[in-house]
Symmetry: C2
Subunit: 229 residues, 2 copies
């Protein structure tokens, strides 16, 4: 089976930069390539777009196939199309970026048949293709976005402490924040539901748990409220 066109066409792929967060660091999901080109190199997961699926569907399918991941938050990042970005010929890729709760996927990614692993975003191996550019673009987007939209919560478990939330922002923004000011501000937005629970199994005073209230945020958003940290 083959397909013939009057004019030449670039191949079209999607790639997904998936971020997760653990106690140490902001992490990105990479896959080790089994085939040439760049065999053995680590790369951002992705693959070819099928003719009957939307770009976002393609991104979700590839993530599911290659790493068993179904992200809640997935959005288009940028399209990379330099003529020489793939040694096999012209390949244009639509990059997406996704945030996941690392606790949901920690084990699975490690045991999948394909070799997939989480790397600290500040310390990745050398990447295939122009994937270093893709990752840099994604990081820049994450840094810009996290301050103006409440997407950080996608990286945390459903119930979290204020300290966890603050650490998240500190890691992404690469600077320290003042504890009292941070708490004052985030609580004043009235987006967090204070639970009657505290953390378990810690060897010090246990912190109160909170949950992000998506519904309330939707309401406030409609009313013209702007999240800003």
């Amino acid at each position: 089976m083959s397909y013939t066109y009057e004019y030449p066409r670039p191949a079209l792929t999607v790639d997904c930069v998936v971020f997760g967060l653990d106690e140490e660091d902001l992490k990105v999901l990479l896959i080790r390539r089994g085939l040439e080109p760049f065999q053995g190199r680590w790369a951002i997961p992705g693959g070819f777009v099928r003719m009957d699926e939307s770009l976002e569907d393609a991104a979700r399918r590839e993530l599911q196939e290659e790493a068993g991941i179904r992200p809640n938050l997935l959005e288009q990042l940028y399209t990379f199309g330099a003529p020489d970005r793939d040694p096999r010929g012209r390949v244009v890729t639509v990059a997406y970026f996704a945030l996941v709760k690392l606790t949901d996927y920690r084990v699975q990614a490690a045991t999948d048949a394909r070799e997939a692993a989480w790397f600290s975003v500040w310390d990745t191996p050398k990447l295939a293709f122009d994937h270093a550019d893709v990752l840099a673009t994604a990081l820049q987007r994450l840094k810009g976005k996290v301050r103006y939209q409440p997407i950080g919560f996608e990286l945390l478990p459903p119930k979290f402490t204020l300290t966890q939330l603050q650490r998240l922002y500190e890691k992404i923004l690469e600077r320290e924040l003042d504890k009292r000011n941070f708490r004052k501000k985030i609580l004043s937005m009235d987006l967090l539901e204070e639970l009657d629970e505290v953390e378990q199994d810690v060897s010090h005073r246990a912190a109160r748990l909170y949950r992000f209230d998506h519904k309330k945020y939707k309401q406030l958003e409609k009313a013209g409220f702007n999240f800003e940290l």
Copy 2:
């Protein structure tokens, strides 16, 4: 001549949403389609990507060919890839958005062999394909971007009055701004060069002209300054 591939490939195009500004309104450049599909409908200028050019090069080439326009500011907007967005088959388009000084192009676009025209962005004819979505996305981006980056100047002539600048922001943001506060803020950024010239041929007190200082902005930007209006 024809081209054969093992798997089917979508066609790849670029489209350019070009904004301009005149005394009345924010304008967008549209081209009337000469061929099916959507023959006779107005559409955003664009065309197929060639195999040896980058996406941005393709966007610039198409703009030059279809409307004789060479924008200073051109950046990628979003990639539209719904499977059914083009009745001829699968066509994925990388949309760009551009800002131009309308005074430079007002005549030319009207006299080109192709039918090209500027329309108020709030009052366009029915557009071909999913171009209404593309336009809406571009407008949203412009509104979001203009407050945090000094790109509005790309829409004005090199020398402009503060009132012109204020009107620009009012049209894009769709709300009125206070004259004194606006002037205070924009002048305090120290990005405008005050010229020893005033407007000509006005039947009232002539306003002083200013020029945007790109070099100074680059300097301040490096020093960590953030434009914000």
